[in-house]
């Protein structure tokens, strides 16, 4: 009976949507996290040879009875909506207001310390930490994942002496005790769907090692689509209410489909019991 397969396919999709919702909910407090929205799509339909020829009604339906085969999870779309602000007053916490990403890099080395490649990642997570780096000969801003924040030409921002007041303005210029240090690079990605989500709040921009980001992306600060805010963090854009109502919605869909399986099963039972008096 095809309806068992139809409902099973739908339930499989719904389960994946449930996984997506639970991932969103579990990241409700992750800084810079962007939620994903699951959406369903219909599966192909099949034709049964029930009706040998076109009906005598004025319709163009092809001969045969069309039976669908259910639904699947079509795509999970990234929702790039802005998350709410969380004031922290930590000078190295940065929040992006508007469109844009930080570019962060990490040097991947082999056992002997030789540089293998440079890993470029985009992120919205702005809780940086000053840490000394041998490679750059100074203090750099690290993300939680160990990547280093870069400036507007894609090179690490280095502080010689970390003692002093760090001031970061809206347009990304970094000063320490009034002395200019560098300018933070923010990159505008028009199509976030082309970015590969690699976990840890990072996106892979697919930039080859050593290639400046401005060959591929526009500077969001120059384009006036983003501003920076010091001493604040962007919370995740997960909305508890919305996720819960989605949860209820898909749970009901799951129940309805399992009920459909139950009914199909009962029908098979009835067919089986024809000769069992």
């Amino acid at each position: 009976m095809q309806s068992l397969n139809i409902s099973t396919a739908a339930m499989r999709g719904i389960q994946q949507a449930l996984d997506n919702t639970s991932n969103n909910l579990s990241n409700i407090d992750t800084v810079g996290f962007k939620r994903r929205v699951a959406s369903f799509s219909e599966l192909l339909s099949d034709s049964m040879n029930e009706q040998p020829a076109a009906d005598n009604q004025n319709r163009n339906t092809p001969a045969g009875l069309r039976i669908g085969s259910g639904a699947r999870l079509g795509l999970t779309k990234l929702d790039m909506g802005q998350g709410s602000m969380k004031q922290t007053d930590v000078p190295t916490d940065l929040m992006i207001q508007g469109e844009g990403y930080f570019l962060v890099t990490r040097k991947i080395k082999d056992a002997n310390g030789a540089l293998l490649q440079e890993e470029n990642r985009l992120t919205r997570e702005g809780n940086f930490k000053l840490q000394y780096s041998d490679d750059d000969g100074g203090y750099v801003l690290h993300t939680a994942s160990g990547h280093i924040l870069t400036n507007s030409s894609g090179n690490p921002i280095t502080f010689n002496d970390p003692v002093g007041d760090i001031l970061i303005t809206e347009d990304g210029s970094v000063t320490m005790d009034g002395e200019p240090v560098d300018t933070i690079g923010l990159w505008k990605v028009d199509n976030p769907d082309e970015l590969q989500q690699v976990g840890q709040d990072l996106f892979d921009p697919d930039l080859a090692s050593g290639i400046a980001p401005d060959t591929k992306y526009k500077n969001a600060l120059d384009e006036d689509v983003a501003t920076l805010r010091q001493g604040a963090l962007e919370s995740s854009n997960v909305n508890m209410m919305e996720e819960m109502s989605q949860l209820v919605n898909i749970q009901r869909a799951y129940q309805l489909n399992s009920r459909a399986i139950g009914i199909s099963d009962q029908m098979m039972g009835i067919a089986n019991s024809i000769r069992s008096r």
């Binding site: 929205v37 192909l44 009706q51 163009n60 769907d193 082309e194 992306y217 489909n257 009920r259 459909a260």
Partner: protein
């Protein structure tokens, strides 16, 4: 007697098909733009039943009763089948998603002069050469406005169909190859009520149309029952190259103008009513059970005929 057995069996088979159709509707309760199917049940053609070699048949008015001729008893239906599954094109609810690439299509078109139902659809196509307009035979129709942008910057549906504009060309909102000259609108895409594709100019803050792609391809389909459902939420026009595929925004027809709208950041949900679907499933189940009971009863009667008639000391 045996005839009744087959009649009930055909009923069970038809109800099984109906259950499959209902299960598919229910499975797609969360599919955007999905149109539910209505199962059409039909009786088998009627037969005229007569008793043959009946010398003493009753008189039936209007029929001569000659000896040796078959006496007509009357008409008999010998079963039922599900002849087709017809999509129901009513508008689904719309729900907010706040995603810039979700567009709900709402229409309230009036029937044309001949009373035919009219519905609006988005045009989509699978394209090989994206620089050329889609050929009429490649164009498909959908109500699914849940789109995303692929890695080349084109608007696509969840099943990989390109969204077409009013000139049947793929809509490109993002051009990553060419930062300076290409259009790179991305998430800043603004779709007006009439389907115009625009973006806000970063310097002047004015709305500007996309070059070449001015408007979403919306097609008015008169008598949507003529569409062939391909699955994956896609309809195709079969036969002659179709449909009044007019540019709705320029249509002066008072029955069209002002009677539709696209809503960006919203989605049209499936027009499946889960309550009604489950209820129909339950009634199909009960009808199935009743047919089984008829089979069992007929079988019981046959059993009597086979095993008890002719037995002398029962």
């Amino acid at each position: 007697m045996i005839r009744g057995l087959y009649t009930s069996a055909s009923g069970m088979l038809a109800l099984q098909n109906r259950q499959e159709s209902l299960a598919n509707n229910l499975a797609n309760v969360n599919t955007p733009g999905f149109k539910q199917d209505l199962g059409v049940m039909r009786a088998f053609p009627e037969q005229l039943i007569s008793r043959i070699r009946d010398q003493e048949g009753p008189d039936i008015q209007g029929y001569p009763n000659l000896s040796g001729q078959a006496a007509v008893i009357g008409r008999l239906n010998s079963g039922v089948y599900m002849s087709e599954a017809m999509p129901m094109f009513t508008q689904g609810d719309i729900a907010e998603t706040r995603n810039p690439y979700d567009v709900a299509l709402m229409d309230n078109l009036q029937p044309d002069q001949d009373g035919n139902e009219r519905r609006l659809f988005y045009s989509v196509a699978r394209l090989e050469d994206l620089t050329q307009p889609a050929q009429p035979e490649d164009i498909r129709y959908t109500r699914n406005g849940n789109w995303s942008v692929n890695s080349d910057g084109y608007l696509v549906t969840a099943d990989g169909y390109y969204v077409l504009d009013a000139q049947n060309q793929a809509v490109r909102v993002n051009n990553p190859d060419d930062l300076l000259n290409g259009v790179s609108v991305g998430q800043g895409l603004i779709i007006s009520k009439t389907g115009d594709l625009q973006y806000e100019d970063p310097t002047t803050k004015e709305l500007v149309s996309l070059p070449n792609n001015q408007r979403l391809g919306l097609s008015v389909i008169t008598d949507p029952m003529k569409l062939v459902r391909e699955g994956t939420n896609i309809f195709r026009f079969e036969g002659d190259i179709p449909v009044e595929s007019l540019d709705v925004a320029e249509a002066n027809d008072p029955l069209i103008a002002g009677r539709y709208g696209t809503q960006q950041g919203w989605i049209e949900r499936a027009n499946v009513d889960p309550m009604q679907t489950i209820t129909s499933m339950m009634s199909a189940l009960r009808a199935y059970e009743a047919n089984q009971r008829v089979i069992t009863t007929i079988d019981g009667t046959l059993e009597k005929a086979a095993n008890e008639i002719g037995r002398v000391n029962g």
